[in-house]
Every structure is written in structure tokens, then in C-alpha cells.
């Protein structure tokens, strides 16, 4: 009796709630940490990046316009689905990062817990980061945080799930939409996450996932005039590009920029904070006179 031949997956991009191949028709080979063939991933092009930005822009106002309670429900639902897929993520992380089974379990658990932590913030951010201002005059004056708009996230290169979730989830909390460029060498958890998002209640276009060469795609996101902010974490450790070059590109339309925290990627276990959410918000202050 011959051994069963397994059925393998074709990995694609995730744009506007759909799974297209790269318009360029290109793929690149992804290997496991041990160097064996894992899959061919789509090699995103400039056109794919632009399509993703367009999808993100179209989805942004609807996502921001949902009630904070509703966004919390939707994000928590993602955590439920992540839990259901944990064995697949454990296998992806173990193979891609070369982690032991135990370590991979820890990383996946931390990633799911992190998603839950951020899901709970949606309806608390305004209370914690906003305030009434006691101005010297008869005015009602309120400052509230708002999403900055379309955010490009360069996912961490090494931590393919925990790092990815740590960068992605906080951006979504306040109502931003995201174009996420996955780790170049370890893109598979990002695509699996895209499959989770596609079957969750997150509206199509709110999260778009690109795979490919960071040095090829990131400059198009950094220079794109319809991207409001960019997280450059994933430029650290990427080949042929530095975060400083991308930050200079981003200055063209004064994008909000999040720089990599240090010179080397950390282990991400302690990387959850309110500040991570607020990095991609604006403060809006509204004045109104008071009188009889």
C-alpha cells in the first residue's frame, strides 16, 4: 500500500476580502527554518500594493463608523477563530521559525491572548485617552482619539505570528484599515491569518495582506499619497532596505511613522501597550459655546 499523498495549499494575497494571485503572476519559494520547501507564496508587485491601498481606503470609513462595541465584538470573534485554528498556527510557526513544539504553542497562545487584549480596548480608548478640557470660558470642550486612516504595517521579519498580531491588532482597534506586508521569509502565518479574517466578521478591505519582498513593496507603501501612516517595524532585518530610507519617503505626505523600537527585533512577549494603539490615532478637539 502506498502512503497517502497530502493535498497542498496554494498561497495567495488577501485584498479587499478576496484571495487574488499577484497581478504580476510571480511567486517566490518559502522554506522552513530547516531549509526544506514549504510553499510558493505570491510575490506582490507595486500594482498589488496600490490595489490593497484602494481596498483599505474603501473600507476605512465603514470600519471607523462602526460602534466601538461592535468593533470589539468583531475583533473578539477573530480570537475565537484563531483558537479554532491553533494547531495549524502551531505547525506554521514551528516550521517557519524553527521553534520547538512547546515554544510554538507558547507563541500561538500569546498571540491569541494578545488579540483578545486588544479587542477589549475598542470601547475604552476614548475614555482613557480622551478628556474634557476645562478651558477658561463658557465652552464645552472635548478631546477624543480618532483613527488616522489607512495604515501600512510592515510586519516583523522574525516573529511571524506573535509579532504580526502585536503590530496588526492595535491598529485595528480604533478603526484604521490596514495594508499589511508580511515577513518576507516567514509569510505563511500571515496568510493563514488572512484566511481567519476572511471567515470572520471583519469587513473585506479592513485588513489586506501582501506577501513578497519588503525592499520591493515597502517603498510603494511609504510613498503612496493615500496612506496616512506606516509602521516600519518590519524594515528591521529586511534585505536591501532601511527604515530610515522608508521614513524619508513617508515624509512626502507627512505620514505618521512608527519606527522600529531598537536595533534588533525583540521576542514580542511583552509588546502590548496602549501606546501601540495611540501611535495611529489623531486627537480631535471640539469646542462649543455654552449659554442660556
Amino acid at each position: 500500500m502506498t502512503a497517502r499523498v497530502d493535498v497542498r495549499k496554494t498561497y495567495k494575497l488577501f485584498v479587499g476580502g478576496k484571495f487574488p494571485r499577484s497581478e504580476s503572476g510571480r511567486t517566490y519559494e518559502v522554506t522552513t527554518a530547516k531549509g526544506t520547501f514549504a510553499a510558493n507564496a505570491a510575490l506582490a508587485s507595486r500594482k498589488d500594493a496600490r490595489d490593497a491601498v484602494r481596498a483599505a481606503r474603501a473600507a476605512q470609513s465603514g470600519w471607523a463608523g462602526a460602534t466601538a462595541y461592535n468593533r470589539g465584538q468583531v475583533l473578539y470573534r477573530v480570537a475565537e477563530l484563531l483558537e479554532g485554528r491553533r494547531s495549524q498556527f502551531v505547525a506554521d510557526v514551528a516550521a517557519g521559525e524553527g521553534a520547538s513544539a512547546k515554544k510554538a504553542e507558547e507563541l500561538v497562545s500569546a498571540a491569541i491572548d494578545r488579540w483578545v487584549w486588544y479587542a477589549g480596548w475598542t470601547d475604552k480608548v476614548a475614555q482613557v485617552a480622551g478628556n474634557a478640557n476645562p478651558v477658561a470660558g463658557p465652552y464645552f470642550n472635548l478631546s477624543v482619539p480618532e483613527p488616522t486612516g489607512v495604515v501600512a504595517v510592515l510586519a516583523p521579519q522574525r516573529s511571524s505570528l506573535l509579532g504580526l498580531v502585536s503590530a496588526l491588532a492595535p491598529v485595528l482597534v480604533t478603526g484604521n484599515s490596514v495594508v499589511l506586508l508580511s515577513s518576507e521569509d516567514r509569510p505563511l502565518p500571515a496568510i493563514t491569518l488572512a484566511e481567519v479574517l476572511a471567515t470572520s466578521d471583519v469587513p473585506g478591505g479592513v485588513v489586506n495582506v501582501l506577501t513578497g519582498h519588503t525592499a520591493e513593496v515597502a517603498p510603494h507603501l511609504a510613498t503612496h499619497m493615500d496612506v496616512n501612516a506606516i509602521d516600519l517595524t518590519g524594515a528591521l532585518g529586511a534585505d536591501n532596505i532601511t527604515w530610515g530610507e522608508l521614513e524619508a519617503d513617508a515624509a512626502e505626505n507627512l505620514k505618521r511613522v512608527r519606527r522600529p523600537a531598537g536595533d534588533a527585533e525583540g521576542d514580542w512577549f511583552d509588546a502590548q501597550s496602549l501606546e501601540q494603539i495611540l501611535a495611529f490615532t489623531e486627537t480631535k478637539t471640539v469646542w462649543h459655546p455654552k449659554g442660556m
Binding site: G137, E282, H288
Partner: protein, 481 residues
């Protein structure tokens, strides 16, 4: 229309002594600058007020070194409660010498004494008073239990509100334990230099605040200096973009307060008299040289004719002239260069087919003047509806539905401020939600307060100044609570 003539009511300039020349204020002392000298003039009379030193790179170096020493040895280690007392002193001294500062500001800037006396100086003092109280309460500000200062802050400020911008920058920087090298604008350095004398009276330790004068190259050298940890800039979007590029790839933090092109939206049910006053205040305050000025008036079509007619009638009563006269509403344009920019852009407005109306008020013969001007028949594509003019020039557009007003208001790369005029509360709140702007004034305009954050979306820059949020720009987050 005949105008009621007021008797002149000039403010005395005897209250202020202007030296013939000024040096750089570094490490608590005035020193010479190696970059030569420049002249600062009174824009209302073109009289030269003083020679002011220009700092070169070596001078910038000395100032940053002084600030570094003071930060590490004195100001950083000092308990917040003690830092607070210095800031309270400064607030009180500013209030005591308010008349002197107001007169000097008006002489150097050209703004009406009414505004420097009633707005600029008291609000500057209020900022020091407000941030003084934060100095020993930083653990409560929401940035961790023990937030730290960045170190040395490079601050470059504009000429439209010279003393007020100084206060916006210096007060939160000092409250949080940073030290400062501040460069005032080349056309308006005098109140910053008088402020140095106030620091002497306050006995602020040397090096905590350094003031270096000069133009663009001096500011650029300061921003690029390797010893600077934090950059704070208020000015044009073009320069802000340049700064953002210059500090890319470094570990310098930045806050940028840049240009704007605010939509001031008037609905048909608005209280029209109040709205007219708000429109006037929105665009003619400080000769329109305000980044958050309400330079695009969006009026609902059904009342557009009435609003523009009443607006013109009101503008005809504005008194343009000697800024030192307490009756003056609109003063001088800050410089010949700025007057030229305003003139050129209004010409573009005419060339592109908008209809120009200019108040026929008499203008003085010397100095830099521009009469209040309104353009009607403006479309969103016109340059006068897209570019910041930074002068007393209003563009009027119309709309039919709230959705159209929102689309037109947000159809701009800027996002600093917006105004909404309507008697319907639910509409105010929905419009405020929809505006992509950092400050939204409903049934009022151009209000400022030290407790209230100010700053823009998109190409109007990043970071907030004022209020609790203004502290974030000067702090590195401490450990979680």
C-alpha cells in the same frame, strides 16, 4: 457708506526700551553671533527696530552644548515641584510685564495692540501657569508612572504669534524636564529676546533656555544638530516636510504644526449675526496670518447671498491701519515678502475666474498692508481654495447638503481646523465627527486655551500642543502602572 471716525487712541511705546543691537542668549548670557547680523523692522512703518545677531553652526553647537549640560546637571535631576516654581515665576513675570511685551510684539509683528494685549500675552502667561502645575504631576498624565524627558529640545517657531508660540513650546518642554534651544522667526525676534530678560528675573538656571536668532539656515543647523533629541516646529508644510526628511532614520522625535486651509461651514439655520462675527474672526484675526484661519467659507446655497452681503457690510466697518491704535481691527502684514505672496495668490484667484471684492478702506502709505478681501464664485479646484494664502483673504464656496459640505471640507491634504455654524445640535455632533481636522469649532472660531490640545491631521503635521496631550510630545513613556 460713511464711517464714524474715531479719535486716535495710540498706545504709548515709552513702556519698552529697544536696544540698537541684540546678541544670542546662550547659557544665561548674551553673546555675539558668528553669522553676522540682520535687521528687524516694524512692518507698519518700515522703521528698523534693531540689529539682531545671526547664529552660525558653531553658535548652534554652543547653544546645544549649554542645553545638554543644563539638562543633565541641573534641570533633569531637579524635582518637578521645584521646576514648577520656576514656571510659575515666569507666568507671573509675564503678567506683570504684559504691557511691555504687548507693545513690543505689536511693534515687531504689526498685529493690532488690541490682539497682542488681549490675546497673545495673556494666553502666553496662561500656558506657563498651566504647564507649571503639570511639572510635579507627570505620573498622572497617562504616560506611565514615571515618564522621562527626551533631553534637549530644538524649537523653531513662526512669526505670526512670536511670544505665544514661544510659550506653547517652552512651557511644556520645561515642565517635563527638557531643556531648550529656541529659534524665533527672523522677522520677529524681539519678544523672545525680551523674554531672556524675564528669565534673568526668574533666576532660571543658565542653559535651561537658550535663544538663538537667525533665518532658515540657523533653524536647519539646529534641527540637524546631532545633540538634539526632540524637534518641535511650527510653520509651513513645505518646511515641515523638509524637517521630517532631515530627521528620518535618526532617533529624534518630532512634533510639527504646519499649514491649514480650514473650512468654516455655515448652514441655513445658523444664527447669521453670530456666524458673520465668527467668519470675520476666523479669517481676519491677525490679518489672516493664522495656520488654523477659516480661509474657506462653505455656505449653504439658500443663504449664500445673504451671508456674503452681510459679510461685506461688516468688513467695510473694519478699521485697517496703525497697529498701535487701540481702535485698529486689522494691522500690518508681517513682511514685504509675505505681502508679495498674498498679492500673488490673490492675483491667481482673479486669473482663475473667481470674483474679487476688497474693502475700500484707506491704507497707510508706508508699511505692508492688505485690505480685507473676499472671493466669491470659488470652486474647490481653484488654487485660492486649496493653497494656504496666510493673509486676510477669504474664499467663499457653496453647498446644498451636509454630505456635500463634508466632501468639500475634507477634500484637501490639510486637516488642522474646521468651523460649523448651525443651531441644530445633532448636526453639529455629526459634522464634528465627519471633519478630518484636529480642532473643530462649533458656533465659535479661533479659540485657544492652554488646557485644550491643538494640532492637525494629514499634512497639517503631527503631534498635539496644549493640554494633557501636549505633554506627550516631550515625554518618553515610563513603566506601565
Amino acid at each position: 457708506m460713511s464711517k464714524f471716525e474715531y479719535a486716535p487712541a495710540p498706545e504709548s511705546r515709552a513702556v519698552v526700551d529697544i536696544a540698537s543691537s541684540y546678541g544670542l542668549f546662550i547659557n544665561g548670557e548674551f553673546t555675539d553671533g558668528a553669522g553676522g547680523a540682520m535687521k528687524t523692522v516694524n512692518p507698519a512703518t518700515e522703521e528698523v527696530l534693531a540689529d539682531v545677531a545671526v547664529a552660525d553652526e558653531a553658535d548652534v553647537d554652543r547653544a546645544v552644548a549649554a542645553a545638554r549640560r543644563a539638562q543633565e546637571k541641573v534641570w533633569g535631576p531637579m524635582p518637578g515641584a521645584e521646576r514648577a516654581k520656576y514656571l510659575f515665576r515666569i507666568a507671573r513675570l509675564l503678567a506683570e510685564r504684559a504691557r511691555e511685551f504687548a507693545v513690543l510684539e505689536t511693534l515687531d509683528n504689526g498685529k493690532p495692540i488690541r490682539e497682542s494685549r488681549d490675546v497673545d500675552v495673556p494666553t502666553a502667561a496662561a500656558h506657563f501657569f498651566y504647564y507649571a502645575g503639570w511639572a510635579d504631576k507627570l505620573g498622572y498624565a497617562g504616560y506611565g508612572a514615571d515618564p522621562r524627558p527626551h533631553g534637549v529640545a530644538a524649537q523653531v517657531i513662526p512669526w505670526n504669534f512670536p511670544l505665544l508660540m514661544l510659550a506653547w513650546k517652552i512651557a511644556p518642554a520645561l515642565a517635563t524636564g527638557n531643556t531648550v534651544v529656541l529659534k524665533p522667526a527672523e522677522t520677529t525676534p524681539l519678544t523672545a529676546l525680551l523674554f531672556a530678560d524675564l528669565l534673568r528675573q526668574a533666576e532660571l538656571p543658565p542653559g535651561v533656555v537658550n535663544i538663538i536668532t537667525g533665518a532658515g539656515p540657523t533653524g536647519s543647523a539646529l534641527v540637524r544638530h546631532a545633540g538634539v533629541d526632540k524637534v518641535a516646529f511650527t510653520g509651513s508644510t513645505a518646511v515641515g516636510r523638509l524637517i521630517a526628511k532631515q530627521i528620518a532614520g535618526t532617533r529624534k522625535h518630532a512634533t510639527l504644526e504646519l499649514g491649514g486651509k480650514a473650512a468654516n461651514i455655515v448652514f441655513e439655520d445658523a444664527a447669521i449675526d453670530q456666524a458673520i462675527e465668527g467668519i470675520v474672526n476666523g479669517i481676519y484675526f491677525n490679518q489672516g496670518q493664522v495656520c488654523c484661519a477659516g480661509s474657506r467659507l462653505l455656505v449653504q446655497e439658500s443663504v449664500a447671498e445673504e451671508v456674503t452681503e452681510r459679510l461685506k457690510r461688516r468688513l467695510s466697518t473694519l478699521r485697517v491701519g496703525d497697529p498701535m491704535d487701540k481702535n485698529t481691527d486689522v494691522g500690518a502684514i508681517n513682511s514685504a515678502a509675505q505681502l508679495e505672496r498674498i498679492t500673488a495668490l490673490t492675483q491667481v484667484g482673479e486669473d482663475e475666474g473667481a470674483t474679487r471684492w476688497t474693502s475700500d478702506c484707506p491704507l497707510p502709505e508706508t508699511g505692508y498692508w492688505f485690505a480685507p478681501t473676499v472671493f466669491t464664485n470659488v470652486s474647490s479646484a481653484h488654487r485660492i481654495a486649496r493653497e494656504e494664502i496666510f493673509g486676510p483673504v477669504l474664499s467663499v464656496l457653496t453647498f446644498r447638503t451636509p454630505a456635500e459640505a463634508i466632501a468639500k471640507a475634507n477634500n484637501i491634504p490639510y486637516g488642522l481646523s474646521a468651523g460649523i455654524w448651525t443651531e441644530k445640535g445633532s448636526r453639529i455632533l455629526a459634522m464634528a465627527d465627519a471633519m478630518r481636522a484636529g480642532v473643530v469649532w462649533a458656533n465659535t472660531f479661533n479659540r485657544f486655551d492652554p488646557t485644550s490640545p491643538f494640532g492637525g491631521y494629514q499634512e497639517s503635521g503631527y503631534g498635539r500642543e496644549g493640554g494633557r496631550h501636549g505633554l506627550a510630545s516631550y515625554l518618553v513613556e515610563g513603566g506601565a502602572r
